[in-house]
């Protein structure tokens, strides 16, 4: 991987240096372990070609990335606050949430580095959603519920924006690489809550009613006009859970807006 190419040096050189420095020991460790999965399209590829030669990102892409950044800000602050709250997360799942938090921190840094001066500021969050989740940082079950809602929303949000990134293959690919990580998070948190890792119909399961907009539309069983539920061996349940559904930007902001102070 080539780190010598000018990346966003006009934007945030410190960040890039930091990323490079952080990566080197990781690469070394991987090589020593001999277990490195080759990441063809990774941060290095993004850094080397996507922006260094094209510093003016189209407004449409800036909008999508700022939308994504807002969601990542939300998740990042949420998990850092939770991990800093004493006696909230039990010791046996600290590693799970430490890993999720690490990824959200990285996603914020990555998106900010790409956006540079065009990055939106972090909003002020209210993770109780005006009191609906008043004990979110003192009751583990409430924390888990909000976590699941955030992760499942994040998956749907990235999915809904993929088409808007088609003009830039590198950025599209990075968005997809974040998208699948959010899906891993969602599945893991759902398992901790005793839910199926995949979304069945449009069911919010045991989540409280205010989270229903996170799941509306997930019961769709028609893909590209084909009724998957009617294919051999299929049922409505399988046809729904086998495909995750997108949310529009407006739908996502309506959900996330509950947690943003006006």
């Amino acid at each position: 991987m080539d780190y010598n190419k000018p990346l966003l040096e006009s934007v945030e050189p410190d960040y890039i240096n930091e990323m490079t420095a952080r990566r080197e020991p990781i690469e070394k460790a991987r090589n020593m372990a001999g277990a490195a999965a080759t990441t063809i399209i990774s941060f290095g590829a993004l850094a080397g070609t996507a922006f260094g030669q094209d510093k003016k990102l189209p407004g449409k892409i800036v909008d999508v990335l700022n939308f994504a950044l807002t969601l990542e800000y939300l998740e990042d602050e949420f998990y850092r606050t939770a991990l800093g709250s004493s006696r909230l997360i039990p010791s046996d799942t600290q590693d799970v949430f430490g890993q999720i938090s690490k990824h959200e921190v990285a996603h914020v840094a990555l998106l900010k580095s790409v956006l540079g001066s065009k990055a939106v500021a972090k909003p002020n969050f209210d993770f109780t959603a005006g009191g609906a989740f008043g004990d979110v940082f003192s009751n583990y079950q409430t924390f888990l519920a909000v976590s699941q809602a955030f992760e499942d929303t994040g998956v749907r949000a990235y999915k809904g924006q993929a088409g808007n990134l088609k003009s830039n293959d590198k950025i599209l690919t990075v968005a997809l690489q974040i998208h699948s990580v959010e899906a891993r998070h969602a599945a893991m948190v759902r398992r901790l809550r005793g839910e199926t890792p995949w979304i069945v119909g449009d069911s919010r399961g045991t989540l409280p009613a205010p989270t229903q907009p996170v799941y509306n539309g997930e019961g769709n069983t028609t893909q590209g006009g084909a009724n998957v539920a009617g294919l051999p061996g299929m049922s409505t349940r399988i046809a729904s859970q086998a495909f995750d559904e997108p949310l529009s930007k407006a739908e996502v902001l309506a959900i996330a807006g509950l947690f943003i102070r006006k």
Partner: protein, 251 residues
């Protein structure tokens, strides 16, 4: 969303208009005979198949199977996905037909759901591709010990991580935004699968999205191109699969 297909499946007829799938007009009609064939091939009830014929329900026939080329353009990419889904669905079908000893009821429920999800993906691609679909591939699972939980779950992890990286890398190769959306709908389910399989291997740990797969510095999952994925999966596919005409990434 713009409809890509129009479906009408009353009276066992499923008519799919895929003229918008490409610049060429194509009209396919799937009759009840096709549905019956699919049943005969084991798509309907994998449990009923014997282990001997469980590989996609087809008898193993080494010598007559020549190489299968995935083709070009969006259809090539969709056939690439179809090939991966064939592999995954055949694998889980075999896992459930010859269960490893000590498979818990919760593990069985998870593996059954994953099998059914993969079959849904496979059947979707088959019907979406219609006449452009590659044939059923023959698999080669001789290196997998289906009696061993460790072998089964680690193979599942490999297939699902590979599949997720394959979809992540293939998105940029698709021209039609509707296909990109559908690929996005599938890849997050594959990622849910692998997080779950990884949680079965190392419960309640960081392994569900471990540093061995998700880059800890960037928080990104891998994205692999077909040229890297095909050699990884070919050892498990008896039929030789070629993808030389698949689209290449720009730059």
């Amino acid at each position: 969303m713009t409809k890509i297909f129009k479906s009408d499946d009353k009276e066992n007829n499923l008519e799919i208009n895929i003229e918008k799938l490409s610049s060429r007009r194509t009209f396919l009609k799937f009759s009840s005979a096709a549905a019956l064939t699919a049943v005969a091939f084991g798509a309907l009830n994998p449990e009923s198949l014997s282990a001997k014929t469980a590989f996609l329900g087809l008898p193993i026939d080494d010598d007559k199977s020549g190489a299968v080329d995935l083709g070009k353009g969006d259809f090539g990419v969709l056939n690439y996905a179809y090939a991966l889904e064939q592999l995954e669905s055949a694998f889980y079908t075999q896992v459930l037909n010859t269960r490893y000893s000590g498979m818990s009821s919760s593990e069985q429920a998870i593996l059954t759901d994953i099998r059914d999800n993969e079959i849904a993906h496979r059947e979707f691609f088959k019907v979406a591709l219609g006449k452009k679909a590659i044939p059923a591939l023959q698999v080669n699972f001789t290196t997998i010990n289906f009696n061993s939980r460790d072998s089964v779950l680690n193979t599942a992890r490999t297939f699902e991580d590979t599949g997720t990286s394959a979809y992540n890398g293939a998105g940029q190769l698709l021209k039609n935004p509707e296909f990109l959306l559908i690929a996005g709908k599938i890849v997050s389910v594959e990622a849910r699968h692998v997080a779950t399989i990884r949680d079965l291997l190392q419960p309640s740990s960081a392994y569900f999205s471990g540093d061995d797969v998700t880059d800890p510095a960037t928080g990104l999952d891998p994205a692999r191109l077909p040229a890297e994925v095909l050699p990884l999966v070919q050892p498990y596919i008896r039929t030789r699969v070629t993808g030389n005409k698949l689209p290449k990434p720009k730059n």
